[in-house]
Symmetry: C2
Subunit: 302 residues, 2 copies
DNA sequence: ATTATGAATTCGAGATTTACGAATGATCAC
DNA sequence: GTGATCATTCGTAAATCTCGAATTCATAAT
């Protein structure tokens, strides 16, 4: 007689796999290690193969264990969202938010957007991760993220349902170290020809818009490099690697944090901001709250 | 003290929600109805709200129950795939396959491709569903499908990892009822101008290629309509609604089933076939087997 | 209207599972 | 070697799961 899988055992396994040890997992489960150990053994017996290899005084996932963890990750991410969205008492609503932030977006802008929600105590548990837009959307599809922030809209052909909200936009400007600043500040923007620039990824909307602008003005610049990550771009800029573009909305933060100066604006070149939310109705309240806040604070220098 | 969720209870709930009644679910769980009923009640107590409304002598999901079922669907779809891919004994491998088939693909081609796997007894449990490519890929991402067949490749920007395999292609030809056939068969393809045609969706690769071909030959045709679903297109064609294009690879089936005649080929216009598989390693064996079979049988009239 | 049938449920008792304390090994840090 | 940390084994107590019998209720049959 083949018995059913005990999904509680799988839950215990998942906790152990996450924590890396029975001892630590048993604490967070409010159980004793013996218990957890026994349940894991029961699951292994049921499955016919070991999930962990006993190594030294600890455990190590077997290949089969790793695979199982992967599946369990996906499963319990859904379960957690289910509980979060259905168990939170009606007037206190959801209290946690997992946000994916595209590399291209300045972090200081994000914290500006999120600040009202945190100040309000609407959210007590914020979890942010970085990454590329496509990766983040994939994680949202599998319930591992609630919200994705990015600087490009979505080609309509995305397989799964996501909603795309426009948050606003900010004009771009060039920033540079003192040394470079002195070099180009007079005669801007035509003086730009004198100096290398760091640009975002090729074919990113920002880069394209920039090239168009330079073309219009008949300026030929030296491209020092293309960098995907905005934080890295700023850091390189700080080293004097070249001028770099950044949204004017965060001028103050950029100047202060990276010890650079604002050189000048880039006419008609904007970075747009979008928020993506999944096709789930329950967290709606917090979604719309976020979007509303962000759009309001997003009325940035035109 | 807030207790943990018992995921076995959730599993019982899921079964009941699927079967529509405790009586039926309890059979498939090899338990008695009292037991299942009690476990469901326990879960409802833990969650604080009822999952079912007792209605007459049966059960009906509450709104909360429906939502929960939705989450449970997603969770246990993953669990089932996990068990299927890890529990199947090593040399007998996987025996079930869930295939999503894009509307645009002629079903007779699909059955040709799948036949070897079924004849071989490699697969004993085949589940096919129809739909639009994007929808199907979304379902694959959430583990509800193992394989998707479609007629267009994928823009690289798909958020999640899928592998795209080229299966082959078939030249297209026009088909028509006897009456229309008589009208256009002489002087083909220029005679096409005399007769309305049914085309696939606007902007589908097939439609674009067709327009290009017609343009080249300087033929102006009347478009009777655009139809997404290949089966529907054939049915309309059978009614004499107009000529319709179809892959020559299934000429015989089309002629026989829809009682139409092959009018003539369309030069340099092909329908391409692609198989999409998810980023999961375990079902690899059956995937590659399928792709190999399909590619072999896909060497179609050039 | 009365009787059956099919469904969910309640109750109580027994079987099973789960959980813990105590004790045992095994490993690591010192 | 000593003490600390971790997983595990064993035996037992508590919780739970499960089932049979009986109950309730709504529908179906007569």
């Amino acid at each position: 007689m083949i018995t059913n899988i005990n999904y509680n055992h799988l839950y215990y396994f998942w906790q152990v796999a996450k924590h890396g040890s029975i001892a630590s997992a048993s604490k967070s489960l409010f159980l004793t290690p013996q218990t957890v150990s026994a349940q894991i053994s029961a699951l292994e017996d049921r499955l016919g193969k070991p999930l962990f290899a006993r190594e030294g005084r600890g455990l190590k996932l077997t290949e089969f264990g790793k695979l199982t963890q992967h599946y369990a990750d996906d499963m319990f991410a859904i379960a957690e969202e289910w509980l979060e969205t259905t168990q939170s008492d009606t007037h206190n609503q959801v209290r946690s938010l997992k946000v994916g932030i595209s590399d291209a977006i300045p972090k200081s802008l994000v914290s500006k957007w999120l600040a009202p929600l945190i100040d309000n105590e609407r959210i007590t548990n914020l979890h942010c991760i970085d990454g590329q837009q496509a990766e983040l959307l994939a994680q949202m599809a599998t319930h591992k993220l609630d919200l994705v922030l990015a600087d490009k809209p979505l080609d309509s052909s995305t397989p799964f349902k996501v909603f795309c909200h426009e948050l606003g936009r900010s004009q771009l400007g060039f920033f540079a170290t003192q040394e470079l600043y002195d070099l180009v500040v007079t005669g801007y923007p035509h003086s730009l020809a004198q100096c290398p620039v760091i640009l975002p990824a090729k074919n990113s909307p920002m880069t394209n818009a920039l090239h168009y602008w330079l073309n219009e003005l008949n300026i030929e610049m030296t491209v020092a490099g293309h960098v995907d990550d905005s934080a890295l771009m700023h850091a390189l800029g700080q080293q004097g690697f070249g001028l770099f573009p950044a949204p004017i909305a965060v001028k103050a933060e950029i100047e202060q944090r990276y010890d650079v100066h604002f050189v000048g604006p880039i006419d008609n070149v904007y970075q747009n901001y979008y928020a993506f939310t999944p096709d789930r109705l329950i967290k709606d309240a917090i979604y719309s709250e976020f979007v509303r806040y962000a759009q309001k604070s997003g009325e940035l220098p035109a």
